[in-house]
């Protein structure tokens, strides 16, 4: 499951889906089910951990948009290698750490995790070229 780049990409997609569910669950408690079901014409902002998970979600979607093309190019070009596998594993591990680091406000660790994921993405692009 963790042994090929495409599976790692899918696992990351599932992590983003999990983040969506966590954010929605938090918003249910804070903003109320009635508001979530409404057309949300008035703007209501979540606070605390739910707001952090929402920011983590936005960041995770951006990271997904950036990393997916690199892995797909590697796949189409048949250019997967031990290095690209390890880099993809580092990416996933970094993003798995990023979510709780943001949710629980662990400053430093969150930034370090983000930086590792971002650097891994850059390496994947360099390998794809």
């Amino acid at each position: 499951m963790f042994t090929d780049e495409l599976s790692i990409l899918v696992l990351y997609g599932l992590l983003v889906a999990l983040t969506v569910l966590l954010q929605t669950t938090g918003a249910m408690g804070q903003l109320g089910m009635g508001y979530l079901l409404s057309s949300r014409d008035e703007s209501r902002e979540a606070a605390g951990m739910t707001a952090r998970i929402e920011r983590a979600l936005n960041n995770s979607v951006v990271a997904l948009t950036l990393v997916a093309p690199a892995i797909l190019i590697l796949n189409v070009r048949d250019a997967f290698s031990d290095t690209s596998l390890m880099t993809a594993q580092i990416f996933l591990a970094a993003r798995v750490i990023y979510l709780p680091a943001y949710a629980f406000g662990i400053t430093g660790l969150r930034t370090l995790a983000w930086l590792s994921g971002f650097a891994a993405t850059v390496v994947l692009y360099l390998l794809a070229l």
């Binding site: 495409l6 997609g13 969506v20 979530l36 949300r40 997916a68």
Partner: protein, 136 residues
């Protein structure tokens, strides 16, 4: 071309339509002087999205929500296709996703409650099921 790829192409086109549904009324309501400006908040008195009508703002939120959905759906479709795992099940998921996202737009614009949320859940579940199918 697998059915999943066809559904993905339609989903991309749906987002183009959603763009137009949002941008045309937004430009009519705000005027091109505002929309073609660099949209500096201090000069326009805040975000443009807060200055459009409630219906246009709903269409804007529907479009933003579909970007998130579309990224995950693209991932699911491309991986299923590249790994040759297309099946009747994944094709059904892909069409369910497309149908849900088409219905989501009027559901948001006309405030169908709680149907919008249920429709969203159908599209989200279809994507997650495709991702899981790609792993197995």
């Amino acid at each position: 071309m697998t059915p999943e790829l066809t559904a993905l192409a339609f989903a991309g086109l749906l987002q183009v339509v959603q763009y137009a549904l949002m941008a045309v009324p937004a430009n009519l309501e705000l005027g091109s002087a505002k929309t073609t400006s660099p949209r500096d908040r201090d000069r326009l008195g805040g975000d443009l999205i807060d200055q459009v009508s409630p219906r246009t703002a709903r269409l804007y939120r529907a479009m933003n929500n579909h970007f998130e959905g579309l990224i995950l759906f693209t991932l699911a479709v491309v991986v299923v296709t590249l790994s040759d795992q297309s099946s009747g099940f994944t094709a059904a998921c892909a069409w369910a996703y497309l149908a849900a996202r088409v219905l989501y737009v009027p559901a948001y614009a006309f405030g169908w409650r709680p149907w919008r949320s249920l429709i969203w859940a159908v599209g989200f579940s279809a994507t997650v099921l495709m991702l899981l199918a790609a792993l197995i």
